[in-house]
Symmetry: C2
């Protein structure tokens, strides 16, 4: 049985051996304080000159930052220590002495750190971030699994473009010409929802956009639930419950990580239903009240989103956008065909859009007309149109971007730190 730092609660008063790396150390006369990490946590290991042989004391002294070693000692409860435990060391055995580690406690530029991403991941903040990310992904899946959704992975390689070809990654596909990396699994999720009622697809999506903002990655993960017999209101109810569930799951299980990230937890505690819901029209009013020269029919920019969301503590649902700026498959509002039954959810604190969704057009003729209006090649959409030919039903869904959600919940400014190995227009390494 391998014991890790996260198991120490079960071993207080016992002598245990752990394997890991030297995070950092300090020395004070006859005592060395080794900050030890093993991936599951951090542990202060105390090497008293009087408790160990001369050789062991020297072995500990020779450990460089990030050297791997085995440490044996007595587990003690210590509420003041990070993690709540300390180790009274009786033995130290070096596994591999590290060369001079490029990332030191001093400040480094972000470009340098991303070049060293494979090593940067070992730093305290990045470690905490990845654990929050994992908890978010788990919450996403648990939420849908508990509610009887079926996971239906959409394909990554697709023959056509859902929202235009200019922002697509293209790859030759044997004798079939070009194929493209998916931007969204939604159309496939719709087909799946007709088979399973409630489904979700969850995988990487790609945008070859030349955006250099702190909100954009070329490769990011997206979860997209799709539900038969859900209208826009049902869709908004689900999105709301979903976001509350994610935030509260992280709050409950990842307190230590949020502390490392210096996240203001009181802000997350306010993410409780009901969330505010406003129409696009009302959002435009808010912008005008704030002196923004905004024309009805335009889409919101990042700054507009910040102005709108800053009114609220919880995420705000903005619904019924002008149809002109929304995708062809969105259903028009029967009470006002100038707007689509769409909803975007804007995260608080300026984190921008984290969810985009809509009720889908379920009428064959209207959808056909929309495909023509948008000059889309109908033959590529025949299978999608079939969903309206064979037992069409009202249905809705949305997509949540994982990285933006991680950024928001963790309180991280730039999205590039929210994924293990970020891909941006100027970077596809390491």
């Amino acid at each position: 049985m391998k014991i890790r730092i996260c198991d120490l609660g079960k071993h207080v008063g016992e002598t245990v051996t752990l394997k890991g790396w030297l995070f950092n150390k300090r020395k004070s006369g006859k005592v060395q304080f080794l900050m030890f990490r093993d991936g599951s946590g951090l542990l202060q290991c105390i090497v008293f000159k009087g408790n160990v042989s001369e050789e062991v004391f020297e072995e500990a002294k020779a450990l460089t930052q990030e050297s791997s070693f085995e440490v044996t000692g007595l587990v003690k409860e210590e509420p003041r220590a990070f993690g709540g435990f300390e180790l009274d060391v009786t033995n130290v055995k070096t596994i591999s002495k590290a060369e001079e580690f490029p990332i030191t406690p001093k400040e480094h530029g972000v470009e340098f750190l991303i070049d060293q991403r494979h090593l940067w991941l070992r730093s305290k903040k990045q470690w905490a971030l990845m654990r929050v990310r994992h908890r978010i992904v788990k919450a996403v899946r648990d939420f849908f699994d508990e509610r009887d959704f079926t996971l239906m992975d959409s394909p990554i390689i697709t023959p056509n473009a859902c929202e235009g070809t200019s922002t697509l990654f293209e790859t030759p596909y044997f004798d079939l010409g070009s194929a493209y990396l998916t931007q969204s699994g939604q159309l496939y999720a719709e087909a799946s929802a007709m088979a399973h009622g409630k489904v979700y697809t969850f995988g990487p999506t790609f945008r070859a956009e030349k955006s250099k903002t702190r909100r954009h990655l070329t490769e990011f993960w997206m979860v997209e639930p799709e539900m038969a017999f859900y209208d826009l209101n049902d869709d908004m109810d689900l999105a709301e419950e979903f976001l509350e569930y994610i935030v509260q799951s992280v709050l409950k299980d990842k307190k230590q990580e949020l502390e490392i990230l210096e996240r203001d937890i009181s802000k997350l505690e306010k993410v409780k239903r009901p969330f505010p819901r406003i129409s696009y029209d009302q959002a435009v009013e808010i912008l005008k009240e704030n002196g923004v020269d905004f024309k009805w029919g335009d889409d919101f920019g990042a700054e507009d989103e910040t102005i709108i969301s800053s009114r609220y503590d919880a995420p705000v649902l903005v619904h019924r956008y002008p149809s002109e700026i929304k995708a062809f498959y969105m259903k028009r509002d029967p009470e006002n065909p100038k707007v689509a039954l769409a909803v975007d959810v804007l995260a608080p604190e300026g984190y921008g859009e984290i969810i985009g969704g809509s009720q889908r057009e379920d009428d064959l003729e209207l959808l056909l007309g929309r495909i023509k209006e948008h000059d889309l090649p109908q033959e590529f959409f025949e299978w999608y149109l079939d969903l309206r030919r064979y037992g069409s039903v009202p249905h809705s869904g949305f997509g949540l971007g994982i990285e933006r959600t991680v950024a928001w919940i963790s309180g991280i400014k730039h999205i590039r730190e929210t994924i293990p190995f970020p891909r941006m227009i100027y970077r596809n390494t390491p």
Copy 2:
């Protein structure tokens, strides 16, 4: 509250309304039996002429296969019925009448069915398969989450090739030249394991192989755990526990689906630890005993795998392959450098390799030598080599292919049915 077929146990004796599609129907004088599906299950709905108005009886009669409708009736327990319940119908309301559905109960060719994949998913067998797939994916994640692994998604877009460039999908990447779709997240998982100790990466992987066999897809999902301080034996122990966990989870929760798939459950019940473990040398002996003209040093073909695995009821772990046929990053056996500390797991019943894994080379100099031997561009691997420069530790991992696992557990011959929208060399639609 929307009631679905899977919730009916809580509504026996109540009158409920459900929404879904007509799976099929039969008529017998004054009774119509509507087989109704809503994605969560199947339900026999009985329309007695005496119980409903003339209009309702006619409305039911006019429903075509796959028409969507709303049905109201009294929930009755009926152990002989599929799923255990029946509905005594009092009302039927058509939502959308389906055109003539292309997939009828008669036999269709597989090519035709895959062309209609978006509709084929609605068939009973495909529905059951996707639910088994979902349960497998959930078991995979639960297994690692319960054991304190951190999910660390590896990138899909990669700058270089892990196992040669001939089988890679290539895409232009802005001003950075060509990028490639990942074949394995392993190298990244190794970096992640040095930060988190125990990690897993789980996502789509790609092989542009011109293989037309029933075991190959160009896009498939793979889970790859990677563990610091695990040697080959630890790795094999984990793989064994993992496979048992997956199979027993499906057996426990997906009995109905396995029944639809006509799976011989007794075969799955035998998948209990300990599994047999044999060396490559022993496997070669088995082949020779079976009259196969096999040369030490060659890799096993599909037929060889079937011969070896047919000896056993459980998956068999074959370890210590000739280093020559294994990847550069695998550690040599210190007791016999001609073999690598690799393990493949062969599924029973001829399903072939479902797991490939190894202990990794953790010595910088040996790894450098291996990169040179294999004529790999060292500059692409500098970051990977860093993992041996800064606190190298013994570590191991493996990869499990989801689709082959679904095929095996479901008892499905061809892997193309195990993923919602399969991608093969001659197909990237729908």
